[in-house]
């Protein structure tokens, strides 16, 4: 009976492609972040407000990941930025290969920032490196303040937490401080923002912060 020792990561192939993507971004001096959240937390709305705020200041491109439809790409295209829609046809996350394929449709020399909106899911996208500089996790106040404790993997791997829909706080049972405390207990290095895409509260603080990351 023979045993073949392998001892390697199951997602090693994905990590290798992610590293190629990362080197490509570095060569072209592009700051890339990966927006992750549950479905309905407001990834596309945050993206829209961000594009609005950065218009005329930073050259941005967007990769949209969805299980079905190009509705999000249509929303984003209104902001006059290059956008590529990836439809995963049932796949619950983006992987590095899908992103690499999408990059062929973007002229990287003409952009400074790439925003990848992942498929709405707080589990699998945590495991798939896409080559991004950082993951930005969004939790909305309607989801409750215990989300970080239920999905620690995502919060461990993220660099930024955006607490969205803070305009709804009077109507929901959620404490942003408790949510922050739960998230920081898992990852004390998380940088946090509180936003509302309806009132636009907190959007300029978030946008100014990401612009500063470009110059680092």
């Amino acid at each position: 009976m023979g045993i073949i020792t392998i001892e390697r990561k199951i997602l090693e192939k994905n990590d290798e492609i992610a590293q190629q993507n990362r080197e490509l971004f570095e060569r072209n001096k592009i700051f890339v972040f990966n927006l992750v959240s549950s479905p309905g937390s407001g990834k596309t709305s945050i993206l829209e407000r961000t594009l609005e705020h950065l218009a005329g200041k930073i050259k941005v491109a967007v990769i949209e990941g969805d299980v079905q439809t190009d509705f999000d790409a249509q929303r984003v295209a209104k902001y006059n930025v290059p956008v590529v829609q990836i439809v995963t046809h049932g796949g619950c996350h983006l992987d590095a290969q899908l992103v690499q394929d999408a990059l062929n449709k973007i002229s990287l020399q003409n952009i400074q920032m790439l925003i990848i909106e992942n498929v709405g899911n707080l589990v699998c996208p945590a495991n798939y490196d896409l080559g991004e500089a950082m993951k930005v996790v969004i939790v909305s106040t309607t989801e409750g303040d215990d989300k970080p404790l239920k999905y620690p993997g995502m919060f461990l791997n993220a660099s930024v937490l955006i607490i969205n829909k803070i305009d709804l706080l009077p109507y929901v049972n959620c404490s942003p401080n408790q949510l922050k405390q739960n998230a920081l207990q898992i990852n004390p290095k998380l940088i946090t923002f509180e936003t509302s895409c309806t009132t636009k509260e907190g959007i300029s603080e978030w946008c100014e912060w990401i612009v500063r990351q470009l110059h680092k």
Binding site: I4, I6, E7, I10, N127, P152, G153, L156, Q185, P188
Partner: protein, 111 residues
């Protein structure tokens, strides 16, 4: 499902095609923080293996607990899922040592 697909691809990379039917067992290490539910992975693997030459394979999973070293008191402790501070001094300044594994360890073949 894509993780199960990756496992099959790795096995096929390491085992010559003519020996695929001899593959008896695949050992995996799955960390508690990997986000992978072993039963779901096994379910997906069973669906995929039936369409491949790996129909006789069983998968054995070693569960890896979450352990961390405390940067304040330097002690290493095993953490409960969702509790991310040192169990000795309660500092949250910890370095994860294990728990994120999603590895294929080895493949056993019949003679």
């Amino acid at each position: 499902m894509s993780i199960a697909q990756n496992i099959i691809e790795i096995v096929k990379e390491h085992v010559p095609k003519e020996a695929n039917e001899k593959v008896k067992r695949i050992r995996l290490k799955i960390g508690e923080l990997s986000g992978v539910v072993p039963d779901s992975l096994l379910f997906c693997f069973d669906i995929l293996k039936n369409g491949s030459a790996l129909g006789n394979v069983s998968v054995e999973i070693e569960h890896v607990p979450i352990t961390a070293r405390c940067r304040s008191c330097d002690k290493t402790s095993q953490l409960e899922y969702g509790v991310f501070f040192c169990t000795s001094c309660h500092s949250s300044d910890i370095e994860l040592l294990t728990g994120k594994e999603l590895n294929i360890v080895d493949i056993e073949l019949n003679d």
